[in-house]
Amino acid sequence: MNPDLVIVTTAILVSSASALVGTFLVLRRMALLCDAISHAVLPGIVLAYWLSGGARATLPALLGAAAAGLVTVSLVEWLTRTGRVKNDAAIGIVFPALFSLGVLAVSLYFRQVHLDLDAVLYGEIAYAPLNTLWLWGLELPESWLVMGLLTLLNLLFVLLFYKELKLSTFDAGLAASLGFAPGVLHYALMALVSFTAVGAFQSVGAILIVAFLIIPPATAYLLTRRLPTMLLLAVGVGVVASLGGYALAIWLDASIAGMMATVAGVCFALAFLFSPLEGFLTTRLRRRRQRLEVAARLLVAHLAHHPQPVSEQEIMAEFGWHPRFLRQAREKALQAGWLEARREGLWPTSRGRALGQGPSVP
């Protein structure tokens, strides 16, 4: 089996599985909770590892992690519901507590065993091609099986319960009053997040999994205002991060998972700056255009009121404009066909004069 292929496909599976459930986390404003889950699964993994007698076993680890994830969510909700701690504080209390339990357990009981802390925290996707198992007479990477199943599970969940998830995310009150059990869906989603976090932790580690769960959906959120598109874009960003991250990691000889998270972060930064919806730069550019447009209208209206040509000095004094801004406004008005340049100066066209009838905002 080609190791490059195994690594890249594993990454794509991890990011797809993560993006599908991560989208709903982002929309529920629970990004922080996902951080908590991804850390708190550690004691669950350790416990399962210990119970299963130290064998490298994926299934007990998955179950232990999912249990730990649900314990995290329940503890956070219980703390919040007592009304004595705010939600973010509750998360901040629960997850270091559980995580430190896990770290302690690892360092105390598993010093000699093959469960080293670095691998747990940062993962090592480069080992993905080495862990194989035999299935139907084929030697397959274990990560394909685990992450493939998880991707399928998340995909089925989102497809089957799309309508219910959307409703309970947007308006849990209505979902409850229509009998759609938003609480059950909530815990199901959290269980899947825990599953995904632990399935992925062998590849990308407990910390970087957050980059896969949150960054692609957060990027997609900046780019669209439609939920189906957001889901697709989130998966797309994950795929781009996997491919681009791997290529860069090979080229720069850097950590593969780290590079993938970096590329995802770069995607987010680009969307943040250039999104056609409300990108930081796009918005500023649009505002500038709009300001120029208003200035051009002002200029045309001003000229239309004067029978003689008006000097530039007069206009700049009248509006308090810089020469450069006047030039830009004049350019804009000429382009829009509101002004024409004659030998004796600038004249409003008939369209320009029609503008003066009143502020008609397109």
Binding site: G83, K163, F170, S177, L178, G179, F180, L227
Partner: protein, 247 residues
């Protein structure tokens, strides 16, 4: 006081108490809402009006009390009940369109798994027409004004096609035109024989808009037909000495 619930009443509440932390927010509330009328719930901020709606609909736990809808339990009567929450209870930046939100009102009829189709889209469009928002059907909900958001919620409630509606301050922060449009919808519902329970804030208009009045301040101060209940004495007991009867 009868010991069996009256089957014809759309809503009957007995001994309802709700406690957030240690403080009772609703105390021993008894309520009977008459059928086919526009019914107002009025009281000062923090009186527990929103909590009353939520407790009745099972959205917050109740410490004690029983609730019947048309003589049935919430579970049995669920499909006949529509709820319009306060506008700020949802995230209006959610990536979805106006038509999509209105279609959510039809999810209850669809049940689990079934997806909305052409029929649902047409029904939702029809509801949008009733609140004059058909032109904004495909607009993203982030780009709506407060009054438009309120009308979207109203259209969604219409789509539910319920017999009993609960609305939490539908008139809050809307202009005169939208207020009139909402009132039209309420009258339309009433003429179809539906019952509407509205949390209302404006003492000036409450007498004109509604048939039945419940004055609430943790406890029910008074509840009954508008003319009998809307008295300065009752308002004083609800709001304290400062309340005005509004002419």
């Amino acid at each position: 006081m009868t010991l069996t619930q009256t089957a014809t009443l759309p809503l009957e509440v007995r001994d309802l108490t709700v406690v957030y932390r240690e403080q009772p927010v609703l105390w021993d509330v008894d309520l009977a809402i008459p059928p086919g009328q526009l019914s107002a719930i009025v009281g000062p901020n923090g009186a527990g009006k929103s909590t009353l709606l939520k407790a009745v609909l099972g959205l917050v736990p109740r410490a004690s009390g029983q609730v019947w809808f048309f003589g049935q339990s919430l579970r049995e009567a669920r499909a006949r009940i529509g709820y319009v929450p306060q506008r700020n209870t949802v995230d209006w930046d959610f990536p979805t369109s106006v038509l999509d939100v209105v279609m959510m009102g039809l999810y209850g009829q669809l049940g689990w798994f079934r997806r909305p189709g052409k029929r649902e889209r047409e029904a939702a469009m029809h509801c949008l027409e009733q609140v004059s928002l058909q032109d904004l059907a495909h607009r993203q909900i982030a780009q709506l004004s407060g009054g438009q958001q309120q009308r979207v919620f109203l259209a969604r409630a219409l789509a539910q096609n319920a017999d009993l509606y609960f609305m939490d301050e539908p008139f809050a922060g809307v202009d005169a035109v939208t207020e009139e449009a909402i009132l039209q919808v309420l009258h339309g519902l009433k003429s179809q024989g539906k019952t509407v329970v509205v949390v209302h804030h404006d003492l000036e208009t409450v007498r004109e808009y509604f048939d039945h009045l419940t004055l609430l301040n943790v406890q029910v101060i008074a509840s009954g037909p508008m003319e009998e209940t809307f008295t300065s004495e009752n308002l004083r007991r609800t709001y304290g000495a400062k309340a005005r009867t509004g002419g």
